[in-house]
Amino acid sequence: MNDKKTPRRSAPYLQRLLGASLGGYLLASAWVVFCGALSRHAAESILAGMQVGLVIHVAAAIWSFSPMPLARMWLGLLVPAALLLAASGVLMHWRG
């Protein structure tokens, strides 16, 4: 494969790196926001969310570099993040 290296191959590599770093960070942050929305005593649940968020980021990085089409990789990162943020919005609105 090394002799067939073409410039096009660096693009998916870069996208996976972006997925693992920024996508993973976005997902972990969305999770922390969601944890904060779960409880009225936000401080403790935000702390728990941050502790788990680190693990989520690692899992997201592993996910990003697993063999699958790039579109599926992005879906796997962005859909859960969007759902978590939407759920947080609904919970906060509901509480007022």
Binding site: A43, G53, I62
Partner: protein, 569 residues
Amino acid sequence: MSTDASLTGAGTGGFRQAHAWLHTWCGLWFSWLLFAVFLTGTLAVFEEPITHWMTPEHHAEEAAAQQLAASAPASASLAQRLAWGTDYMREHHQGAAMWELWPSDATGAGDLRVYWFDSNRQYAAAQLSTRDGSPIQPAATPPVRGTQGGHHFVTFHYELHAGTAGLWIVGVAALAMLVALVSGVITHKRIFKDFFTFRARKGQRSWLDAHNAVAVLTLPFQFMIAYTGLALSVLTFLPAGVAVYYGTQKADRERFVAELNEPGKPEASGRAMEVPDLEPFVQRGQTLIGQPVRAVVIDHPGDAAARIGIYGWNEDADAHGRLSPTTGMAMFSAATGEVLQVRLPGAVDGGTPSLAQSVMGGLHMVPFGGLALKWLYFVCGLMGSAMMATGAILFMVKRRHRHQGEFGSATARVYRLIEGLNVAAIAGLGIACVGYLWANRLVPLGIAHRDDWEIGLFFGVWGLAVVHAWCRPPRSAWMEQLAVLAALCLLLPWLNLLTTGEMLVTQVLHGDWESAGVESVCIAAGVLAIWALRWLRHPEGRNQRTPRREKQGAATAMTAGTATAEVAE
């Protein structure tokens, strides 16, 4: 790691191949920084002994203070000390938002100190005489040998002496380490079997086996130390939740921390009320928490809403048996004397997440378990360093005969860059660490910013090692840097004898085990560097070794930061 790891690309091939690729490259690019973080973090376990060795002028003072304490007549009572502290604060810092009195040590003797927030909300301190309660003027003369001592290794290993930017860099590296560990486990189909496999004298195979053995043996420790290290600074790394529900200002973050750690902290009422006699509060507090008093903290002193907190001393024996290093605490309302809150030793004020956070701090910084556990952390940390070093070396050993052309026409130059970084990051960092100890004895006493000079020399020596490693052919670079490392390690006790007159034998005779330990570990590192050097110089001699000795040697040579590639091949 499968042998065709690098022949697949990112996210291609089977699941295991894709992760072999991830493990190789994620591991490689972060291995040098992680090795530095791990080796200095490992040294940081013995921060106090290193500081002790680096402040020889204090040895006599320490001995004199101990003698004085033993022969001195009983000093003022607890009630008297508290009264002196309160009088001083009333007279000089009536308007401070917080007073903190440290009346004595756990036995009722020792110094009397007071702390407060000054008008800029900075923490300020004073020491009072335990004979008449008058303030003691701090000594005008700066310390003879200005040094950060072992604390340099602590600061370097989590923020590289670069503040928040350094904290983020180390944080990213720690996350990359977790990713590399997970992908390494995925790659490993025979994780248990590999642990018992060591094929000596097989070049690349031996490096792979050594890498697998140290990694698998200490895998739980490596996961734990990387995760708890990240978790300690998680407020910086994942601020989204705090930003959304509290705000993005510094004050908002403080409000979050206060809500976590000080639930129910009262607001000032605006009505004046003298701070009451503290002794009854201290007595009640000591009974409630079952510990002698360490500190008395008064929020809003002089206000009717004032709150008095009594904090306890953890005895060594207690602290050794507890993962959470918190002490006992009892809170009282100053006006009514009502108990507001009690925290038993080892517990936390909040719920499970707070307790988990406290325990993670304990797990990372190992205040429990005493000396035995510190040594266990030291050995596991060295094996973690060995994991990074063998991984980085294995990458190059694999490619020395067979270019894999990952970087197109630049491959040869990138390989050269990596070879040089391996030498400088492994042997060079060892030189910088022992060079820091040399700097402590050689930088003239009494010059301004002496501690910065020592740290500057640490970085300067390391920078020289980088330049040297790129200027010289890899094999020569390894041998020369190992020789310098061995010389600096083995000559350190002589340097100490020449500059302070102390030597290993007298240290042992005087029972100064901290200094003796520092020099012994240094000598051990020097011996290992010599061993690695001989191995590199006489590659044919390796054939006479038994496989078992080879295995131990390969692992321990790495651990001293003296990894040698099989450059000879």
